[in-house]
């Protein structure tokens, strides 16, 4: 099976409907976003996913991490990140979303994300 990975800038994801994202996931695409989704976006994504779960599409695996979660980050760096994120309007980090049939599990350690396929 061909693996399809889509990189989406957070700014575009924010404009898009969660339904469109779920459509891609349903078609077997793994999505990478260059930021951490905010909690409401995560909840919307789960809600939209649940609406289309079927015998062929069992749902998604989702995980994200933000820069400020890194252990080495100093208080000054955290403050700097906070200011930058306020200006940019996004949490700097990474989000991985994939169909559960392809990504069996995502293990999150404080400093890395491990995908089991």
């Amino acid at each position: 099976m061909n693996l399809r990975i889509k990189l989406i800038p957070y700014e575009r994801l924010k404009r898009e409907d969660a339904k469109k994202l779920v459509k891609d996931l349903k078609e077997g695409t793994i999505i990478l976003v260059d930021a951490k989704l905010d909690p409401k976006e995560e909840a919307d994504l789960i809600e939209e996913t649940m609406k289309v779960v079927s015998t062929k599409f069992s749902g998604i695996e989702l995980s994200s991490m933000e820069l400020s979660e890194l252990k080495e980050t100093t208080n000054f760096e955290r403050f700097k990140n906070m200011v930058i994120e306020r200006i940019m309007g996004k949490k700097r980090g990474l989000t991985i979303i994939g169909p559960a049939k392809i990504i069996r599990k995502i293990e999150k350690n404080p400093e890395e994300l491990l995908l089991y396929m």
Partner: protein, 213 residues
Amino acid sequence: MVVKHFRRLKNRLASAIRKVFKKKKEIKIGLYGPVNSGKTTLANRICVDWLGEELGKVTSIPHETREIQMKEKVTIKDNGRSLTFNLVDTPGIATKIDFEDFLKFGMKRKEAKERAKEATRGVIESIKWLDKMDMVLVVLDSTRSPINQVNITILGNLDARNIPLLIVSNKVDLKSSSTSRVRTAFPGYDVIGISAKTGAMVNELYKMVLKKI
């Protein structure tokens, strides 16, 4: 540390504002968490302790609770203080539901598919009800790794809505339980280790609820 104090201050402030403006409204305390973390077992424990009757059915099959269940006017008391609220038991939140998982529990395909469909509706309901909560007990299975997306999403959504919460590290009666692992994973939150099944530390939980709301 700073984040922890800021979150506590923010929650106290939100709770105080809520008390002023919503004094006459019925208080809703929700039980949220991933699948099979013991939400209904805890709901039953609370209801039996204070009302003398259970709320819902408990089994080892995932997604046993597929609809919101509510018990009205539960009054908990401690040291002259009391609180009356509606207890809301919610279906477990999940990002995936595979009907084939239910086949392992001896279900027929048709029954498993129906259960999966009901479970997806349950997850949607749970998310929709978040806005109605005045306080939430996030029930986690302390024998499992606490760092998973469902737990992070629940906590993030409660924080975003300024809903006071307590993390209940359940199943401390089991050998592989680790409440310290839960505390380490979520340092900014109040965590209490209990066993909803045996009742261990549940009285402490009541005290914390009375303090929190």
